[in-house]
């Protein structure tokens, strides 16, 4: 299976569920197990939520973009915003670190993405927006496409 898609949507929290469903339906084309599918939805939810809350500070005027690609058994995901960016990426990735403890944030978002996906990298800088790239390979053999 080789396929690609791009979606762009406003930075409103309703789109967290929307993004999970869209990427989940797209990734279903490489026949993930139920567990792999929920891992993927979890990672999407974390990255999109971060763009909305931290990138755009909960303001609805921003745009979040998701690019997804399927190749064989692999899913490649790129989730980006043009928000305020991250000054210290290593610190942001530490388990339990959050810049908003008063909002009941757990600081586990990046740890979840790292644990539930195979790879995760963060590209960011203050004032430069943030892009999170993740990959996941599903275990199952892909089903053969029908010939006609």
């Amino acid at each position: 299976m080789d396929n690609e898609m791009v979606i762009r949507f406003k930075s409103v929290s309703q789109n967290e569920g929307f993004a999970r469903v869209v990427v989940g339906a797209f990734a279903a084309q490489i026949n993930p197990t139920l567990e792999e599918l929920s891992d993927i939805k979890m990672a999407v939810s974390e990255a999109v939520t971060n763009s909305i809350i931290h990138g755009y500070g909960n303001a609805p005027g921003g745009v979040v973009e998701i690019r997804a690609r399927l190749s064989g058994k692999d899913l490649y995901l790129e989730i980006s915003d043009e928000g305020k960016g991250i000054a210290d990426i290593a610190k942001a990735r530490e388990p339990f670190y959050t810049s908003c403890p008063e909002m009941d944030r757990s600081g586990m978002g990046f740890t979840v993405m790292e644990t539930f996906m195979d790879t995760m990298e963060v590209q960011s800088g203050l004032g430069q927006g943030t892009t999170v790239r993740m990959t996941k390979r599903v275990a199952a053999e892909q089903s053969l496409d029908a010939q006609c």
Binding site: E35, S38, T49, D104
Partner: protein
């Protein structure tokens, strides 16, 4: 997200129905705290059997309620999480402070 609370003496059983993410976290937190406003409620059980999705925003809500309940000498229990929710609770260390009953 829908919450259904049942009072049993000094304990409150709340069933969470739907998806707990950042979008639904505020409403979930407000409704849970409304159930806990009565200080005679010591123990809280969250029935997660009908929670179909939760991400780290839910961990924040659970840890926040744990602090509140623990502060009044009560206990927080989690009941019957689905496999995806259970996996997240396990990896984030929630079971170190919160008891789980049922699988």
């Amino acid at each position: 997200m829908q919450l259904l609370g049942t009072r049993q003496g000094g304990a409150m059983l709340v069933r969470l129905i739907g998806e707990l993410d950042h979008h639904s976290a505020v409403k979930t937190r407000e409704e849970l705290d409304a159930y806990l406003r009565d200080e005679s409620v010591k123990n809280l059980t969250l029935d997660l059997s009908s929670l179909t999705f939760m991400d780290s925003s839910g961990i924040g809500v659970i840890i926040g309620r744990y602090k509140l309940i623990n502060g009044r000498g009560g206990t927080l229990t989690i009941q019957k999480p689905a496999p995806n929710v259970d996996k997240l609770l396990r990896m984030s260390g929630v079971y170190g402070i919160v008891r789980k009953v049922g699988s």
